[in-house]
């Protein structure tokens, strides 16, 4: 199941990344190398094994629904690359293909 340059382009689009042709070639090679290595998991029969998503015993944790102070709007906006009043400002969204 070798990864092609086309696959790399598809994955890059999903991950919102872009690469030069040279980088695409390099990533295709390196991803294949890593995926080849990872193939070894297929040797294991895991038919009856439950997937493990959390290593310690956990259950939902509830606490009282009590108001606490958090960041002020000003603090929350202090790292904004662009803002207007109390809002984050981004380029126009409406009308954009695929968004």
């Amino acid at each position: 199941m070798a990864v092609t340059v086309n696959d790399v382009e598809h994955i890059a689009a999903l991950a919102k990344l872009e690469f030069s042709n040279e980088e695409k070639e390099k990533f295709t090679h390196q991803l294949n190398q890593i995926l080849n290595y990872v193939e070894k998991l297929k040797e294991l029969d895991t038919e009856n094994v439950e997937p493990l998503s959390h290593v310690i015993e956990l259950s939902n944790r509830f606490r009282e629904d009590k108001a606490e102070s958090g960041l002020t709007p000003e603090e929350a906006l202090q790292n904004a690359p662009s803002r207007t009043e109390k809002f984050f400002k981004v380029p126009k969204v409406i009308g954009e293909k695929g968004s």
């Binding site: 790399v8 991950a15 890593i34 998991l41 895991t46 094994v49 310690i56 790292n79 380029p91 954009e96």
Partner: protein, 471 residues
């Protein structure tokens, strides 16, 4: 280089003050600038804190860590200071609050001296992946200090802070501790709150101390461990006094030696050095037995599927909208996202986002991600089985000593394999500690790893302390 114990007796006798110690550390940081261990230094603030601690010492109200000067890996929030994660994408980001671990250190009267350099977003095993330049190994600057907490390890080794807080997702505290010859402790998953720690792989990440002695790591863990309402994955398990179990013998301690960790990939001198310590423990009454962890050969593959999947999801937040680097002049939202991320992230981070996105993508999820989660269970069960018979395990920390800068940068798989003995603890959620274990022929430090049961840091600290104090 002074351990916290040595500092405490100096403070008690009046031979030094917290302020004079802080000055010494700041001078050491200045002298060792070329090692590139620090990304920011809080000179003035640290002096202010130190004076306040001295006042408390005089008044008899000082906290348990009074006199300890701590550096923090630049992946944890310290209020009012930058947290770059070694990345261009967060170069200008200023933390609006303290991470819980940092807040607890402060409350215990530790002085925070600055932030240490690291592999970008903690992804790497050599601290070469920092957007702000690589960290150099003290003593042989052509070599790497390990990673990703390389700056923290060097800060402790070169006397630039008493201890340092690092993070360990696949070995990032233990492997640099091994390469530089200091102690590095990865607590049980959930032992320390991750609030204010920038996420890499949320089911693996854990904050842990690097220090000169096991006792110092125990003292730090005493303060930072314990449940936090702000991290629902932080455990509610009671926190013992981790220093209380130290200074004990090892009579009757059942120690397992997993044969898979002594394979052909292991550097011969490391095998010999670790074996010597095993013999020493046996001679002092520990019960040594060989154990098997049959799925060891699958740990790196499992780790790199699951950790990159989690990373690709966690790092989706860097989109240039609310914080972090934003490219100028983007005409659309998608263009802003794509170009900001592409210019802001470095090569290794992009590689892992790509791999993680691939294993989570339609058609591959079952073959990779789900398969990885199943094998993770098998790996965890290996440890569960071993711990039915033994109290802890002894292994080498890394298959080699510190390697040359540049040596593995073009071969990601080789770089990943340097974590072959450490990722298993993160997969199984168990605690592990790396302690110095002599040097190889070139004088490079060797690390020995002790792995314990979940929430049984006491046993591995006790064994580590014993080895440290009995030569």
């Amino acid at each position: 280089m002074k351990s916290f114990d040595a500092i405490k007796s100096e403070l008690a006798s009046g031979a030094s003050t917290c302020e004079s110690l802080t000055r010494e550390y700041l001078e050491a940081i200045d002298r060792a600038k070329h090692l590139n261990a620090f990304l920011s230094v809080f000179a003035e603030e640290a002096h202010g804190q130190a004076r306040a601690v001295d006042r408390k010492i005089r008044e008899g109200t000082a906290g348990p860590l009074a006199g300890m000067v701590v550096s923090i890996k630049d992946v944890m929030c310290v209020k009012g200071h930058r947290v770059t994660c070694g990345s261009k994408i967060l170069e200008e980001f200023v933390a609006p609050y303290d991470a819980t671990a940092v807040a607890r250190l402060r409350k215990a009267d530790a002085v925070i001296i600055g932030k240490t350099n690291m592999d970008e977003f903690a992804m790497g095993s050599s601290t070469e992946n920092s957007a702000f330049g690589r960290v150099k190994l003290p003593g042989d600057e052509s070599r790497v200090p390990g990673g990703s907490s390389g700056g923290s390890a060097v800060a402790v080794k070169a006397g630039m802070s008493t201890v340092s807080l690092g993070t360990d997702t696949g070995g990032s505290v233990r492997q640099p501790a091994s390469f530089t010859g200091v102690v590095g402790l990865k607590p049980t998953y959930g032992r320390v709150s991750r609030y204010g720690l920038v996420a890499f792989a949320s089911s693996f990440d854990q904050i842990g101390p690097l220090s000169l002695t096991a006792r110092d790591s125990a003292a730090v863990l005493n303060v930072i461990a314990g449940h936090d309402d702000r991290d629902s994955t932080s455990a509610t398990v009671p926190v013992p006094d981790f220093t209380a179990g130290l200074n004990k013998d090892v009579k009757g301690l059942r120690i397992g030696v997993p044969k898979e960790y002594f394979d052909d990939a292991l550097q011969e001198e490391i095998r010999g050095a670790v074996q010597k310590k095993i013999d020493l423990l046996r001679n002092h009454g520990a019960v040594i037995s060989e154990v098997t962890l049959p799925h060891t050969a699958y740990t790196i593959a499992t780790y790199y599927i699951l950790a990159t999947a989690e990373a690709s999801s966690n790092l989706a937040r860097y989109d240039g909208a609310r914080y972090g680097y934003r490219v100028k002049g983007a005409k659309s939202l998608t263009e802003m996202y794509t170009r900001s991320r592409s210019e802001g992230f470095g090569g290794e981070v992009k590689r892992r986002i790509m791999l993680g996105t691939y294993v989570l993508s339609a058609g591959y999820y079952d073959a990779y991600y789900r398969k990885g989660q199943k094998v993770r269970r098998l790996i965890k069960e290996d440890f569960d089985n071993a711990f039915l018979r033994v109290d802890c395990l002894i292994t080498p920390t890394s298959p080699s000593t510190a390697f040359k800068a540049g040596e593995k940068m073009d071969d990601p798989l080789q770089m990943y394999l340097s974590d072959v003995y450490t990722t298993s603890a993160n997969l199984a959620g168990i605690p592990g500690i790396s302690i110095p274990c002599g040097t190889d022929r070139q004088g490079l430090p060797i690390g020995l790893q002790i792995l314990g049961k979940q929430f049984d840091e006491e046993t591995i600290l006790r064994a580590a302390d014993f080895l440290e104090t009995s030569g």
